[in-house]
Amino acid sequence: MAGPGAGDAVLELRDVAKSFGAVAALRSGSLTVERGSIHALVGENGAGKSTLVKIVAGVHRRDAGVFRFRGADVDFGSTAESKAAGIAVIYQEPTLFPDLSVTENIFMGRQILGRGRRIDRAAMYAEARRIFDRLGVRLDPRRPARGLSIADQQIIEIAKAISLDASLLIMDEPTAALSGVEVERLFAVARSLRDEGRGIVFISHRFDEVFDLCDTVTVMRDGEYISTDRIAATNVDEIVARMVGREVAELFPKTPAQRGDVVLEVEGLSSAGVFHDVSFSVRAGEIVGLAGLVGAGRSEIARAIFGVDGYDSGTVRLMGRPVPRRNVRAAIRAGMAFVPEDRRKQGLVTESSVARNIASVVRGGLAKAGFLTAAAENRAARPWAGRLEVKTAALDMAATTMSGGNQQKVVIAKWLATDPKLLIIDEPTRGIDVGTKAEVHRLLSDLAGQGVAILLISSELPEVLGMADRVLVVCEGEITADIERAEATPEKVMHAATRSARPVDIVPTESEEVHA
């Protein structure tokens, strides 16, 4: 590990581990941040960066490992404790109170008190204005936080950190939603904070930014520490290679597809502020992977196609016939199936029996004279559960008692019972153990072999590369690349997902001042 000036370290994490149930989110995280430096933390989605940040922030407690802050061993049980110690975290999604004023958001919980323990609003406004002046922004301290652009919300978060006089500032993908000018401004602020001797952790997927701003870079992969280098002593290709770092294993039993006719055709799909001008097609027997970073808009596109959410313009066609927008029933009738990202919340009635879950979408066809019997449900469910090898003692068991992998199989079984032409599957193996992962993958491969068109969304790059016949890369609501299986490499996909192939446009646009 890097550490000639270990005494200067403001934050030191060594071999920190954290598991959630059976899933190890962080196996061995290490990070040393020095005073007066900006330290980049990079890794794929799911590499454990966010878990690491949450441990430092006091959201989670580590299971094992060393955690030192300003030279002393610490163990934060709450966000209040870490904040009091001088750690400020700016999360990917700003956490503000929309109903309260900008100033109240900065000072909430530690408002300036005047006589008689009254909140001294005048002093708070003055302080907020002083901070904004320092940051070079003109925000009305009295306006409510609701309706602020993401950039302004991040400014509020930074103002919070400054008013806290934090000695460590962690920024979790702060630039994901910012334009060129806003990024420049944020960097100027970050540099001035560094020059004051604070330590800054910068998490980003944009390598041009990492190399522009940071002094040091730490790479994580699969919940483990990989390397730490001075920025000057490394380059983008080296970092990307370390981030990806592994072979696409036998985990992915993909058989070459017999591509048939076009099943799904999406043209010019746009939804204000979410995605725009999305066009692609999926053929029968083909698995098309939608890759991209968390928040790039992949799930939103899938939800719009399936009719859960609306869209502003564009068309969706299935087998050549248009599918009406915002109409899930029509989408199911047309032959679509959708396995959502969060199976507990969106895909399963966890309190119901396995049989009932599997039979839930075909219920109309099972009912006799309007009545639905458990026997009919069981009859319909049995072949599917058998085929998927769902390991439950009986079909009557409640779905909530099953493991994540088996739950996922039940969700897939539920949709297979509708005999779909197109299967949209979002993060099929999240939180599933390795063995079951391979089973889910084999199932997908078999389905494609039977001529089902599959749209696979995954944040795990190896999964996309291993399973997809074609990879579409989504970046900030747009499809930035369409790569054939033979040509799909982790580097290519990551470049397209972060747009680091072409420079971030730093053309100042005057029309940034758009506040209602």
Binding site: L96, L100, G136, D140, A272
Partner: protein, 343 residues
């Protein structure tokens, strides 16, 4: 650095105050209230200038006002307290029993006991909501029935009559100081205390923060459980006070004391601009809402409006306020998105 400025949204103080006043829900509801009173007085001048016109105008809403103040504190935290009507009934009956058992009891002490008893019932609500991790709607719907059930079991076929309570206490129900009824003064003092706390104390502002975004409140390290608990205790205590006031005002306590008051309390808060999903609204607005709700109920018969239409008007008021809020929110959100798309 100054070339990178973002949003010059600073307004002059005068424009800010004026704009705020024009958009203020409190003032809008107050204007409606004044119009209702004026229209009714024009139709029948006894409404305001009759023997008890002025007194009743101020006195009748005082009980609902107390409830609305407590309810607002709870709703601001994105919860709701449906048990307040039952707390009123139970406390009113307790008041009667105290006087039956101990006729010489100082009136002041009875008010304190009512406040504490209501607070204890509120604490039960708060504990169940905070630690049971069950929505307040369900918990307080349950305690609504439980508290009412305790009341009915305890009272049995008995009821408290005016003769059971000392004259000094009953006089308080209608007494006036400088033409202003004592119960109204009590209610307004409570309103002022809570209003002041919500605006100027850390704890008060944290209630707004919790209701505005509970997840963010956790990340800020606010003591969410303790604050929510406090809000429920306050709501219960206000209902307890209202229970004592009910006994003093009406002289008798029968089994239907406080029945359905919880819905009026929620209605008053909503009409007064307290967002049902928490985070915004003031007790001042809720208080004016309570005044409007009670006054409309009294005014409509004077105006010759039939029974059905009286209920109808109240319903329209509540739905109207919510729809108005929703429409304004949607319009504002759409504008913001459009502005971003242009950029």
């Amino acid at each position: 650095m100054s070339a990178l400025t973002l949003s010059p949204s600073e307004l002059s103080p005068l424009r800010r105050i004026l704009g705020g006043a024009l958009r203020s829900r409190e003032i809008a509801v107050a204007v409606v209230l004044v119009l209702v009173v004026l229209a009714t007085t024009v139709k029948n001048d006894q409404f305001l200038f009759g023997a008890n016109g002025w007194r009743d105008l101020l006195l009748t809403p005082s009980i609902l006002l107390l409830l609305a103040v407590g309810e607002t504190a709870v709703i601001i935290t994105r919860n709701v307290d449906l048990s307040v009507g039952s707390v009123v009934g139970l406390t009113a009956y307790l008041t009667g029993r105290i006087f039956i058992a101990n006729p010489g009891m100082p009136v002041f002490l009875v008010f304190i006991i009512g406040l504490a008893f209501g607070g204890a019932l509120g604490l039960i609500n708060g504990l169940l909501v905070s630690f049971g991790k069950v929505p307040a709607l369900v918990i307080t719907l349950g305690t609504l029935y439980i508290y009412r059930g305790v009341f009915l079991t305890w009272a049995g076929a008995n009821r408290v009559n005016a003769s059971d309570m000392p004259d000094g206490f009953l006089k308080l129900g209608t007494e006036q100081v400088l033409t202003i009824p004592v119960l109204t003064i009590i209610a307004v003092v409570m309103l002022a205390l809570v209003g002041y706390y919500l605006y100027t104390a850390r704890g008060g502002r944290e209630l707004y923060a919790i209701g505005s975004d509970p997840a963010a409140a956790d990340l800020y390290g606010l003591r969410v459980t303790r604050r929510v608990l406090a809000a429920f205790v306050l709501s219960g205590a206000m209902a307890g006070l209202a229970g004592v006031a009910t006994a003093a005002r009406y002289g008798t306590v029968s089994s239907d004391a406080g029945l359905n008051l919880e819905l009026q309390a929620v209605g008053a808060a909503v009409i007064g601009g307290v967002a049902i999903f928490g985070g915004s609204g003031t007790v001042w607005g809720a208080a004016i809402g309570a005044f409007l709700l009670v006054t409309i109920n009294r005014a409509l018969p004077v105006l010759g409006v039939q029974d059905f239409w009286q209920q109808f008007v109240v319903g329209v008021l509540i739905i109207g306020s919510i729809v108005l809020d929703r429409v304004l929110t949607l319009r504002r959100d759409r504008k913001i998105i459009e502005a971003r798309e242009v950029a």
